[in-house]
Amino acid sequence: MSGLHKVSSNPHVRARATTASIMGTVLIALLPAAAFGVYNFGPRAALLILISVASAVLTEYLFERLCKKKVTVGDLSAAVTGLLLALNLPVSAPWWIPILGSFFAIFVVKLLFGGLGQNFVNPALAGRCFLLISFPAIMTDFNCDAYAGATPLAAIKAGESVNVMDMILGRTAGTIGETSMIAIVLGACILILAGIIDLNVPGSYIVSFTVFAALFAALTGRTVNGPYLSAQLAGGGLMLGAFFMATDYVTRPITKKGQYVYGIFLGFMTAVFRIFGASAEGVSYAILLGNLLVPLIEKYTMPKCFGKGGERS
């Protein structure tokens, strides 16, 4: 026996999952949606995805090097932000759009507020909304080689009929990663099976959205039927938002009860924006608003501890 042994406070073993492995799994889970986007919209989609991921990672790397901080790009969270942002862009966007969006998402929203875990809204969504407000024409131009004309959501808002099967498969106009419900749900299954997300937020979000959308559509005198609701569910960013952005650990409540409240709020706001709003879409703004409410929701939904009523949940 020589020398002293390592000491630390208990416990002395650790579970396998790390921040990097979780973020890596999220990247893998986003692959079906990304791959379908490339298939649907062509190689330009792949280029935008690459630019977006690279600029997100580079922004974080350069900032940390310049500030002489520990470089944290290895945790893969910047890559996830870059990929999510790209999936929220129209394929016709010019090359500098993902660079600007990633920079805003990573530098302004994430790093300036203290880095990973400190951002009060989802960086990718904030980046998207920043672009949407700054360059509305570019960000809502869904014309491309494959598709001309309106997105399915805009079409049903205008009272036109849509092909629901195409929407579920993803063969419609829209942002790169949002069109295919099947690809997104496949990715969501990966996350659920890997134990990375549960259905608390996406489940309550989707259910409450369906209820409120039906209610509001009926109130505004639309015929609410199966095809209409299916189109609302499969259309726009709902699936991508519900499974990949509303579930963002940092910006959703940590309490179980709070997660239901948050999900229901998102469903309500999305329905309000989609049915009563000027635009056909409302997922991004609904989630951003929800993010802002998280501290309040958490404050009022703190769990009871064991022995004081909390032992059963």
Binding site: V7, N10, P11, H12, R14, T19, S21, R252, F306
Partner: protein, 445 residues
């Protein structure tokens, strides 16, 4: 209740296969023995021998100080070499009696005890108190105090904690397999003390052989039953165990007796049997020496006071240099920087690992994933408590139930950012409790 379990918990690699199938082996200490005066919760014992005295195994060498205390016995024959502070597993230095082992192992003669059925309740508890029996699961709470609730007739359950949920530990398992009659014997004494209680042996379902054996040994004992618990850490934590067995939940400020329960660990029940039925003091315990750095991992019947070095020698030494040595299990044990410490009444294992998973990855930023809250058996939000602890906001820490933490380690275990949550919460708890004690004492004077 459909399943005997609790909400939360984790499933770490259990490592029990290393040592579980080898029979216990009694070992005789060779070098000096060290008896810390504080091997229990409460006032330290006071030495009643002095330097140069010859002592025998089984001789009382330190007297309990008050009710909340326990005496200490010599476990070998020899000469008192010194009474001085010695390093113990927690890293503290504790006043200890050091005995130079003469390797004759002469033992005092124990008078034949009167059967417990013929003596008073007070006499039974006095025997347990005199024998120095304390909670051997790790806490070291004096057993006679536990067995003296205000209203003994209101106790409905005496639960033998046979969960052994800590990974790697197999000492309780071996005890149950090899000496079930001693466990049942101890339970008989406990049920005699609590006439309205049922005796429950609560075993995790990863030990089906123990469950079968205990069922066999309790056949015909109408007041005893064996309960199979879901295998999950920390199933053997007192509050979680009571909840799993009875559906009754107590918070940190309550005692098991408040909901009619008494919980004792396997080895403690066996020590009660020894004290009451054999009239012998607590002198030895079973220690699992295990881990991938040890040549021959197994369980030893160890005389308390034996140096940890001797345990390693008995287990064939190290096959590779260990990176980390833990006294106790990997979830709640104490890491040792040096093996030169004595075994005590509460030492359950010596775990030697070739890899230290803790220093392998540095803590990073919290990503708010919520896993800590999900696994916390106390149903608090560890991430939030750790934040308050680090900011030294003890008021908020207490408000959000920081004192409810049982320090089981699940939050740190599961944290993907590898944050030392348990450590932060533990430190804050200590500060809050010390603060309270100070206030209480100031109020008294």
């Amino acid at each position: 209740m459909a399943k005997f379990t609790f909400v939360g918990g984790v499933h770490p690699f259990d490592g029990k296969a290393l040592s579980k199938d080898k029979p216990m082996k009694a070992i005789l200490p060779k070098g000096e023995l060290v008896y810390p005066m504080s091997q229990h919760i409460g006032a330290p014992a006071a030495p009643i021998v002095k330097k140069g005295d010859r002592v025998l195994a089984g001789q009382k060498i330190a007297q309990a100080q008050g009710f909340m205390s326990a005496p200490v016995y010599a476990t070998v024959s020899g000469t008192v070499k010194a009474i001085e502070p010695r390093r113990v597993v927690t890293g503290d230095k504790v006043m200890s009696i050091v005995v130079d082992n003469d390797q004759l192992y002469e033992e005092v003669e124990y008078p034949e005890p009167v059967p417990y059925e013929q003596v008073s309740r007070e006499e039974i508890i006095r025997r347990i108190q005199e024998a120095g029996v304390v909670g051997m699961g790790g806490a070291g709470f004096p057993t006679h105090v536990k067995l003296s609730p205000k209203e003994p007739e209101k106790i409905e359950y005496v639960i033998a904690n046979c969960a052994e949920c800590e990974p790697y530990l197999t000492s309780d398992y071996r005890r149950m397999i090899e000496e079930p009659e001693k466990l049942v014997g101890g339970m008989k004494v406990l049920l005699h003390l609590f006439p309205n209680a049922k005796g429950v042996f609560a075993v995790e379902d990863n030990k089906p052989d123990c469950i079968a054996l205990l069922k066999e040994h309790t056949q015909g004992e109408e007041r005893m039953s064996v309960v199979s618990l879901q295998t999950k850490y920390p199933q053997g934590s007192e509050r979680q165990l009571i909840y799993a067995v009875t559906g009754r939940a107590i918070h940190a400020a309550m005692l098991p007796a408040d909901v009619g329960c008494i919980v004792d660990n396997v080895d403690t029940v066996v020590a009660v049997n020894r004290a009451v039925n054999e009239g012998k003091p607590l002198m030895n315990r079973i220690i699992t020496v295990t881990g991938d750095a040890v040549a021959d991992p197994r369980n030893f019947i160890v005389r308390i006071g034996t140096n940890y070095h001797e345990l390693i020698d008995e287990a064939g030494g190290f096959v590779t240099e260990p990176a980390k040595i833990v006294s106790g299990g990997p979830m709640m044990g104490f890491a040792l920087f040096d093996l030169d410490v004595p075994t005590t009444k509460t030492a359950s294992a010596l775990l030697c690992m070739t890899k230290d998973e803790v220093s392998a990855l540095e803590p990073s930023a919290c990503i708010n994933c919520g896993r800590c809250a999900e696994v916390c058996p106390g149903r608090v939000v560890p991430k939030q408590l750790a934040d308050y602890a680090l900011r030294h906001d003890l008021e908020k820490f207490e408000k959000y139930n920081g004192l409810e933490c049982c320090e089981c380690g699940c939050c740190s275990y599961i944290c993907p950012a590898r944050r030392p949550l348990t450590q932060a919460i533990k430190s804050a708890r200590k500060m809050v409790l010390a603060e309270k004690k100070k206030k209480k004492e100031a109020g008294k004077s």
